[in-house]
Symmetry: C2
Subunit: 365 residues, 2 copies
């Protein structure tokens, strides 16, 4: 059945239920009904991958609730996700504003869909869940609440401009999903480091949260793009061990990323300040340390969804830091292929991803 | 009297009362006591300039309160500002995270202060109120609540690295203060447009909120930096008239900056998409329009403190926009002199500032 009662938009404006005129990402509520417009595709969802900041917030909120025990926690988390999706027609955490992504099998493709997908294709979305119409039909019964990867039955809608990647045959699905979820980070890091290196001097690159998923990929991307020295900052001795054994950083330092003076001092001691600083820590309050760890004329890339715009802007102004601060855009052309290739080529990155997926810990640092 | 009970930091870490280890901007509460550490200076404050996003939020909150009438509104606003400063030791709006700036006369300078100030200098701070220790002693009795410029008696503390500008003799104080408050915007716009123009083609620049203070300064800075076409977007016919008569934009378009499709269409119709888009509108929800108005490979500079980090990051990803998004850093070397010179050279900018200061309207768009 095809809907043509009014025209569709490749951006999905036709699915915005409230408020009118908003983009799907900014909208409060989307129409997630399964009938397609001619340029849409529908996916049978089998797994959600909540983004790290959202999963952390939901877990903390559930733990503070009345059912904070371990069985109760899973039920509280299921209830929270189901409630959001039922109310909003998409999985967008109202506190963090972020979503995540999903995998599934293409079920139906409208005649005008430009995505090049066919029914039966096993895909991952590369646009955020925060703008993807979604309905869940299994009550998330198979999710134990311990991982941000959520087994799920339901359907999702892809617009004309919703990017999706066919999953590779040579990598396990949970691994590929975890990699694709953060693939914007290594791609943008690579671009910025390459530009910095084009000046003639190989830049010092500091990665905050370097033993996490986006952090480890960004570290190896920085090295391949011409970094002179990669400094990996992690919060604990255990993470330092993980990062050191993976061999992704020239120097590993331990500091609390929320402690600006400690971050600045440890990056300096490891050969900084950095020409490029990449923030992959999914907790609030890391703006100041990133600013202070960065050399005048340098660049900070904020990938964490826990970043505060005003804290970054005013923090840099407040210490008279002449630095460029980038909002980590999750889309860079070729980002999926680049990230998957990094995981194929670097056993250290793969080990980090497998250990984090296995332990159900999606935190970037 | 000099305090030396423990060492001071040029960043002001020694004044952070809560939580320990935070930078002053990120801290909840600062110690605003008047006794100086050796590298500090104390200013007798005569005027606060609340930033536009904060003033708007406070005004809206006060209007919704029980005393929303016109006399009651002033009292409610005074109470709100006094309450924040008493509780936090600084004027940082807890909702927006932003502050503003102040003017005053230097009262005492510690022997180790590196700022080059002397008692009696009439200055404006160029670091945010959100990190400046402040105490108010006159109950804000002279403030009618109708303008973001707040007559005020009290004292403020400058750290070793707190930038301040001696006020120029040739411009009225309210004008100079309003210009210095937004001087980071034209400076960064100038830098980005110059870089874009260095590619060989004069870039199209779109300014959202171009009839406001930061917007008008950014428009004229863009033109001087080599923009091929400056498109000024404003919300109303009245603002369009103001901007057109000031002669700051090559094309003036009217659209609601919160309506992404309308912004994109009107910028396109005026000669866009833009290679550089500058967001100077101090209301939430302008991220999508800015993204859609910008050409692939282009840059968006977000100056509004109402910008949502996640809305920008996910909004660009959601429409597969390969654009660079900058957090508007309020500090660029030479920013104060550049902005004051633009106002001296461009009668159109000065008229916009004077009309907005006179009418008590500090909204950037």
């Amino acid at each position: 059945m095809q809907r043509q009662d009014f025209p569709s938009s490749p951006l999905g404006l036709h699915r915005v239920a409230e408020p009118a005129g908003a983009l799907p990402q900014a909208a409060w509520r989307l129409d997630s009904s399964p009938e397609l417009w001619p340029d849409e595709a529908r996916v049978r969802v089998d797994r959600l991958n909540l983004d790290a900041a959202s999963f952390r917030q939901l877990t903390e909120a559930a733990a503070e609730g009345p059912d904070g025990g371990s069985t109760g926690l899973a039920a509280a988390l299921r209830g929270a996700v189901l409630g959001i999706v039922a109310e909003r027609g998409k999985m967008q955490n109202p506190v963090t504003g972020s979503g995540g992504m999903l995998t599934g099998v293409v079920e139906e493709v409208g005649p005008d869909s430009p995505l090049g997908l066919a029914p039966g294709d096993r895909i991952a979305t590369l646009v955020s869940l925060s703008l993807t119409p979604l309905a869940i039909t299994d009550g998330l019964a198979r999710w134990d609440g311990r991982s941000e990867q959520v087994p799920c039955d339901g359907h999702a809608i892809l617009f004309g401009r919703s990017i999706a990647a066919v999953l590779p045959d040579d990598l396990p699905v949970p691994l590929a999903l975890a990699v694709l979820d953060v693939c914007g980070a290594p791609a943008l890091t690579s671009r910025v480091v390459r530009q910095a290196a084009a000046g003639g001097t190989a830049p010092v690159v500091a990665i905050l949260g370097a033993a996490g998923k986006s952090g480890s990929l960004s570290a190896v991307a920085a090295r391949k793009a011409g970094a002179g020295r990669v400094i990996g900052l992690v919060p604990t001795q255990a993470e330092a061990g993980l990062l050191s054994s993976a061999g992704l950083a020239d120097q590993v330092v331990i500091a609390d990323a929320r402690d600006p003076a400690a971050v600045a001092a440890s990056v300096r001691a490891a050969g900084g300040p950095a020409q490029v600083t990449v923030v992959c820590v999914d907790v609030p309050g890391c703006e100041g340390g990133a600013v202070l760890a960065t050399a005048d004329g340098g660049t900070v890339i904020f990938f964490s969804m826990a970043t505060s715009f005003s804290a970054a802007a005013l923090g840099a102004e407040g210490v008279a830091a002449d630095i460029t601060m980038l909002i980590g855009n999750g889309y860079v052309p070729g980002h999926a292929a680049l990230a998957l290739d990094l995981v194929r080529a670097e056993p250290g990155v793969r080990r980090i991803f497998e250990s984090r997926t296995a332990e159900g810990d999606g935190h970037a640092g």
